[in-house]
């Protein structure tokens, strides 16, 4: 089974609204990363949060991590039509292997 599981599976919002996606995982991790994938393309790294961090910001992105609940959230503020994509969380443990979830498909309507 996948280590990371995102919810919701799909999210549709209006431009300007905020989008929140959640990720849950099962085992202990060194870090958790969020990636973006435009249709038919490879994945692009957005942000990494280490297991000893609780919150991190990068531009319009805010990531939180709760290791006690084994969950993370990605918030995209003031969304734009260009944010339309699939978003994946990935967890990495001591062995270095990175495991991905099934993703959240975000649609931002102009």
């Amino acid at each position: 089974s996948q280590q990371g599981e995102e919810d919701p599976q799909a999210l549709s919002i209006q431009e300007g609204e905020n989008a929140t996606m959640n990720c849950s995982y099962k085992t202990s991790i060194n870090n958790l990363q969020w990636y973006r994938q435009n249709s038919g393309r490879g994945l692009v790294h957005l942000i990494l949060i280490r297991s000893n961090e609780r919150e991190k910001h990068s531009g319009r992105l805010r990531v939180t991590l709760d290791t006690s609940k084994k969950s993370s959230s990605l918030l995209i503020t003031a969304s734009r039509a260009a944010d339309t994509a699939s978003y994946f969380c990935a967890t990495s443990g001591n062995a270095g292997k990175s495991t991905f979830g099934d993703g959240t498909t975000l649609t931002v309507k102009p």
Binding site: L43, L48, G96
Partner: protein, 114 residues
Amino acid sequence: GAGVSQSPSNKVTEKGKDVELRCDPISGHTALYWYRQRLGQGLEFLIYFQGNSAPDKSGLPSDRFSAERTGESVSTLTIQRTQQEDSAVYLCASRPTGGTGELFFGEGSRLTVL
């Protein structure tokens, strides 16, 4: 090159044929990963190479799948006797040792088995 390069970008083959997919990682990246992504789904881990260590093959779905890596450069994923269920995009990623942990992805190889 500047990024991870995969070839071919598209491959159509007949059931039962063998296919080879190639990945050129970013120069100097010691870690290399292969993932499979079926249409509309997430990434399924296949195999992970780290330097000269034995690869983590725990994600290979059957003995029809194998992968090799020459030192810290090119990797080839081979699928023997392809089945229709093998149709997917195969993504390669690389990562430098001591980096932030970020994976750098190629654009993928789309495999269609007829």
